[in-house]
Symmetry: C2
Subunit: 426 residues, 2 copies
């Protein structure tokens, strides 16, 4: 694996992060822009020395922090002064107590929607990119990059602009104009690649190993171990917003599976640090039927996830070969959860259900989690008497096409009272 | 003026709000769903008994409150327990320290962007609608309504859904599909009217006086005095986020002019309550050239605003006959500010400038304020050595068409390194 370590490891000051550790063999490596184990090629993740021993002090410190993910800086691979640097300050989004939705679904134990559409570029990607930016700064990278088909492109473009980094984002050349505009408006370089998303990914891997990519931080490749940690903040926020309490059940979308595994990691950290009481929680993964390799493996009792070719309107979840699939299966089984999927029609219904009950207009990924929650309750798998948190990771404005064909005016009338009365809406 | 007072005035408990007061003749009326003075037909606004005498205690109370506009409940026409009711919890959006933009514009005294795209439906309208919902509940209204061409429709639909109120929103029948979807997705009734926006407005006024509109709260008509107060929260948040300090200069967009007048009202309240030090501030109004009746009146030294027919891409500001225009002129002149306008090309440039410097993708209205800020600095009217706050009241995702024609990829390449090198982006 070709790697450019621009800054040497001894310069690196990323708060409580002390090393990279292989998730397969446990081998440790110094902090650097690497993502795979030299020994076994397993994925690397961050190892920490977390501030243990004084949970009350830590809780107070967090509560006195900024209204962003930086309140959790003591638990993240970022410098202590991160909040003072120009960044997007994502996170601390609303945890919506969804009583109307709970009534419709028959949930009596408390139902919450963690609504990440409130992030600066309106998806959870702002969290992970913000951490990647700090890693990029630490390693002396001057260009921030990624391959993307949507949310990530905007998050990288915006974060790089504000951080004063150059950005160069790669997308398939034939994306819809709206997505291209959202990715290009921040003024960084946007490169359309003649090929599929897989071609784009392959090209990015090539570029990392080439002099042309020197000084480049690919948030979801060579910065991935850092980037992925951003999802832990969802766990922290949910627990803090519940009054420093673990939810009983969480329903989390699965794309690569990284978010789900990091939320589990975050919850376990909170327990280990004594910030929440140690009690069981169940994690449920949600996929779209048209891209449900993890759900299929779960149902078939397999440990291995067989890749599929995605075909679903939930494009932000359409990863046919999810890197963290096996870890997701582990977590669902270990916690007594499950992985389930819903079809596109159910996704659209669920988007509308959430919108009309709670005023939250979710991206298709949010339709997947709400739809799966409904299905799991109907199946008796998810316990409606327990506190349940459902994630909405993106914004309906970005996937208007999903609901447009079935969402329109109740009536068209002439501008007078007779015409209004005829429409039967009075 | 026909009015249905569903609940009697003695039932009404809206916190510190004690009466309605005519902005022209000062006559007072009991709290109710009325908006024009019986004596002189002047517009009504809320009169308060605010919690004076203990600024330190009030400040602590606010700081301990929720991360939404409800932290300012003691200063708003809402019940004390408002935060416990199902509502959208808007506000407390980011105040972005815009150092990159400041450098480009030559501002040395501190430049901030108040970014209201972070609200639940991504515009400042969530603030005003949230207050209107409380008035609707207080008056026993069961249907929430408005005329709208965009942001307001979504804000009303979402807020009503969550509050458990019915909604019925009126729009011109020929809006773009995207806007229709955003308004309809929350499941309330959406009625397309065959006619212009003026026809829609006229129809709504008719409906208020008709039995068919009984029990209906039109947020921007019979609930307008309450609704308008929501904009005060922008003033409160800006000052609190600056460390309980008045900014020296504010640049605020003008549609009806209501927002600007209420921000001024909010600033004066903070001074009167001793929450901020009393020092001069200047308020600047921003319009699009294609709908600049207030700017024209300001420049010509008139007190009267002559209506125009709007023709601009800044559609959320396209009110040709702004009701609060004369008050805006007063405030700009009283505070030593100004009113200025920029053309559509400058609006687009300013949207891109803000996006590439700060990672904030603004609606056209945000392009207007940033563009006017730039112009006023170039003219020597806005003092770059003073602390300046520029408002972005909406989200670029809702006005993609404005930037789409001039925003695209830097290059289209084949998925290989040679093709990338040829593009000159390495």
């Amino acid at each position: 694996m070709a790697v450019q370590t621009v800054a040497s490891s001894t310069d690196i000051s990323l708060g409580p992060a002390v090393a990279l550790s292989c998730r397969e063999c446990g081998e440790r490596f110094p902090l650097g822009p690497v993502f795979a184990c030299e020994a076994c090629f397993g994925p690397l993740e961050i190892a920490y020395e977390l501030p243990a021993g004084d949970p009350e002090g830590l809780r107070r410190r967090i509560e006195a922090g900024p209204n962003s993910i930086w309140r959790y800086a003591p638990l993240l691979p970022v410098p202590a002064d991160v909040a003072d640097k120009p960044n997007m300050n994502p996170g601390f989004t609303r945890l919506v107590k969804a009583d109307n939705l709970a009534r419709e679904l028959g949930v009596t134990g408390g139902l919450y929607v963690k609504d990440d559409s409130g992030n600066p570029t309106h998806s959870f990607k702002d969290r992970v990119v913000a951490i990647a930016v700090e890693a990029a700064r630490a390693f002396g990278f001057t260009t921030l990059s990624c391959s993307s088909t949507g949310n990530l492109a905007g998050a990288v473009g915006a974060a790089a602009a504000r951080a004063g980094l150059r950005s160069c984002v790669f997308i398939p050349h034939d994306l819809e104009q709206g997505k291209v505009v959202m990715a290009a408006v921040y003024g960084g370089d946007l490169v359309g690649i003649e090929g599929t998303y897989d071609d784009v990914n392959r090209f990015c891997s090539e570029l990392i190993g080439d002099p042309a990519g020197e000084g480049w931080g690919f948030v979801n490749v060579n910065l991935r171990p850092y980037y992925a940690e951003g999802s832990k903040t969802l766990a922290y926020e949910i627990c803090e917003q519940l009054g420093w309490r673990l939810p009983d059940q969480l329903v989390i979308p699965i794309a690569s599976g990284s978010q789900l595994t990091k939320i589990d990691k975050g919850l376990r950290e909170l327990i280990a640090l004594g910030l929440v009481e140690d009690r069981p929680y169940r994690i449920f993964g949600a996929q779209a039927e048209g891209c449900s390799p993890v759900s299929r493996a779960f149902k078939e009792g397999h440990d291995v996830v067989r890749p599929v070719r995605p075909d679903t309107i939930a494009k932000s979840l359409a990863i046919g070969n999810p890197a963290d699939g096996p870890y997701v299966l582990d977590i669902a089984r270990r916690t007594g959860g499950a992985v389930e999927d819903v079809n596109d029609e159910q996704v659209v219904e669920a988007i509308k259900l959430l919108a009309r009950t709670e005023g939250v207009f979710a991206e298709t990924a949010g339709g997947v989690t709400v739809g799966v929650t409904k299905k799991l309750i109907e199946q008796g798998v998810l316990d409606p008497s327990l506190t349940t948190v459902v994630l909405n990771t993106g914004d309906g404005l970005k996937t208007l096409d999903a609901v447009a064909p079935t969402t329109g005016p109740s009536a068209i009338i002439r501008p007078n009272l007779d015409s209004f009365r005829e429409a039967g809406l009075a």
